[in-house]
């Protein structure tokens, strides 16, 4: 048995060693996922999506392996060590969700120097030799105002719930919202609080600022804070404004209840955890010899009044609305950047 296995293994190695002809193939390529954190519903969904899509790809023989690695602690030094280990393990591509945009650059450079393709997503790295799949968070913020401008041509007062202070994502979404307000001068930001992307924090923050606010027509958010805002408005006995949601299951459930009860209308937008699978396909395409721009933009996942039910059905309890990307989706994203 073991001898047979060893024979098979050596045949496999021999096959891998034979230089393939001009038509590039990725059947013998190994891709690794280096992930820095697995402690919330979004990351869990991200890992599940990776598992689902890559297992299929491996069984179809598109790639030889696609193993996920998560560091035990969310620390840049630990992830740098992990990336260096992955280099030693002979992976052809490393897909990274990085603990820090800069602190991994040394390890990423080592990987590039060893001829390894590095694709970063969500938590991207700034090292120029790596590919980046970034979310256009600014456009995500702007799209909220665009939606509201269409829904309320007369404009109104806006309350903004921001995320965790000092994090780049918060700055970018905020910049998008500001740009949108400048474009649509009928809207006015009357208040801004930090909700830290958590329902309980958002609820406390909104409840604190509400007594000082005039009538609020709409609440712009960053995700993970819409349900808390709704609760705060209800507790203060104020009319529920249009609250933009962030694809969390509790937010969608609340929206559905309001929709059924009173025809409440809003939209929901966030980044899908399945973006890990997009990064996988992009890495596969680069290994396949395709010419891919270093900076790609991932579309964000938007839920509207019409497709609320369908999305809610696919969302796990306590989870986040998700999409998994296919090879074709990846090719579209790559093509769009050309």
């Amino acid at each position: 048995m073991t001898i047979k296995k060893m024979l098979l293994a050596s045949i496999a190695v021999a096959c891998a060693a034979i230089p393939v002809s001009a038509s590039a193939e990725t059947a013998d390529k190994k891709i690794a996922l280096s992930n820095n954190y697995a402690g919330n519903s979004w990351r869990q969904a991200m890992l599940t999506s990776w598992d689902k899509i890559t297992k299929e790809a491996v069984s179809k023989g598109i790639v030889a392996a696609a193993d996920p690695f998560t560091t035990a602690e969310n620390q840049a030094t630990e992830q740098a060590a992990q990336i260096q280990n992955l280099i030693l393990q002979g992976y052809d591509a490393i897909v990274i969700n990085a603990a820090s945009p800069t602190a991994l650059n040394g390890a990423v450079k080592e990987a590039c120097d060893a001829g390894i393709t590095v694709v970063s997503f969500d938590g991207i790295v700034t090292e120029p030799c790596a590919w980046r799949i970034a979310v256009d968070f600014k456009a995500m913020g702007e799209s909220q105002i665009d939606y509201l401008a269409k829904k309320m041509p007369d404009g109104g007062n806006l309350l903004e719930i921001r995320g965790l202070a000092g994090v780049s994502v918060d700055d970018e979404i905020h910049a998008g919202i500001q740009a949108g307000v400048e474009k649509n001068s009928k809207f006015k930001l009357v208040g801004s609080v930090n909700g830290d992307w958590a329902q309980d924090v958002a609820q406390r923050a909104v409840a604190g600022i509400l007594p000082s606010l005039p009538e609020v027509a709409a609440v712009v958010t960053q995700g993970g804070d819409g349900y808390g805002a709704a609760q705060a408005f209800a507790a203060a006995n104020r009319p529920t404004p249009t609250i933009v949601m962030g694809n969390r299951e509790d937010e969608l459930v609340w929206w559905k209840q309001q929709k059924d009860a009173s025809g409440y209308e809003t939209m929901s937008v966030s980044i899908a955890p399945g973006v890990s699978t997009l990064a996988f396909w992009v890495a596969q395409q680069i290994l396949d010899g395709k010419d891919v721009k270093k900076d790609l933009v991932v579309p964000f996942l938007r839920i509207d009044q019409e497709n609320l039910e369908a999305n809610l059905e696919n969302t796990e309890k306590g989870g986040v609305a998700n999409v998994e990307y296919s090879l074709e989706d990846a090719q579209k994203v790559i093509g769009a950047a050309m």
Binding site: D67, E73, T77, A80, L88, T102, A103, G106, A107, S168
Partner: protein, 313 residues
């Protein structure tokens, strides 16, 4: 032939490193090369420097819980001021070392527990680091980058650096008269005082030296990562303490071994790689890391007891 207790102390860390290393080589033959060794050990260089710093503090019977945040702070200074205006950066780092010396004096004069003082200072360092670099960034000074990515002939940088650190600190702590005084303060500070030495001065110098090594750790780390963030080295507090203990040091009594501390730091780094090569799920990795520590420490305790029994005979 009988082994002296000193030799046994030296042998156990070296043996555990050798065992781990051969296991890694067995699992991943690719590691058995110039680049392989460098990749395995280059991140151990800043940890080794931080471990030496911790060892100096432990040599005078104290414990530094601010090591991780201080190295992060030093890394942030390196990636910002030391890079853009080296003179100001140097002044800040010298100032930080002076604060370390003052810490040593205050802990002694006011008879404060070092754990409390350093824990408090850790928040100060963390705050300063966030002030310097509110969001991750900065860039490494060219000389630090060049030093950490240098490719000396035959032996990779990580190994050369480890040997140099071990040799220099061995000379400093085990061979120089200053080193004897440091260990003397840890062993019996009263007799050092009676012999006419200023314990305050020795402690201040020891803390300053520890600060210097921690600063070097920060610089080495930035040289490897090319940039810093305020939380970059938080793990170093526990890693440095574990490294000293693994390397044969004791919490009290001034019993430390610089060579052992460097080996301890290398062993800890290697343990992480070993677990990753074993494909142990991350949920179990922290536990497995702890298990490795317990096995090595248990082995040492066992040998210590054996050695004591032989002495009594």
């Amino acid at each position: 032939m009988k082994l002296s207790s000193g030799t046994v102390r030296m042998i156990i860390p070296a043996v555990s490193l050798a065992v781990l290393l051969s296991a890694v080589f067995y699992m991943q033959p690719r590691a058995m090369s110039y680049t392989g060794l460098n990749l395995l050990f280059n991140l151990a260089v800043p940890i080794a420097l931080a471990t030496i710093a911790q060892m100096l503090i432990m040599a005078v019977n104290d414990l530094d819980l601010s090591m991780g945040t201080f190295v992060s702070f030093a890394a942030c200074v390196t990636a910002t001021f030391l890079q853009s205006s080296p003179f100001v950066g140097l002044l800040i780092l010298i100032g930080a070392i002076a604060v370390y010396a003052a810490m040593g004096v205050i802990i002694y004069l006011r008879e404060l527990p070092s754990i409390v003082v350093t824990l408090g200072m850790s928040f100060v360092w963390a705050g300063l680091a966030v002030l310097l670099l509110p969001s991750p960034g900065g860039s490494a000074p060219d000389w630090a980058r060049a030093l950490m990515t240098s490719k000396p002939p035959v032996v990779p940088m990580a190994i050369v650096a480890s040997v140099v650190i071990a040799a220099v600190t061995h000379f400093l702590v085990m061979r120089s008269s200053f080193g004897v005084l440091i260990r003397g303060v840890g062993g019996n500070s009263r007799s050092v005082e009676r012999a006419g030495w200023s314990v305050i001065g020795i402690r201040a110098a020891t803390y300053a030296l520890a600060g210097l090594f921690a600063v070097l750790a920060g610089i080495a780390l930035v040289g490897l990562t090319t940039a810093a963030d305020a939380n970059i080295a938080l793990r170093y507090t526990l890693l440095s303490i574990a490294g000293v203990i693994l390397g044969g040091g004791e919490f009290v009594g001034g019993r430390v071994s610089p060579v052992g501390a460097v080996i301890g730091a290398l062993t800890l780094t290697l343990a992480g790689s070993f677990l990753s090569f074993m494909r142990i799920s991350p949920d179990w990795q922290i536990g497995a890391q702890g298990a490795i520590l317990i096995v090595v420490l248990g082995l040492r305790l066992f040998l210590n007891r054996l050695e004591k029994r032989e002495k009594n005979r």
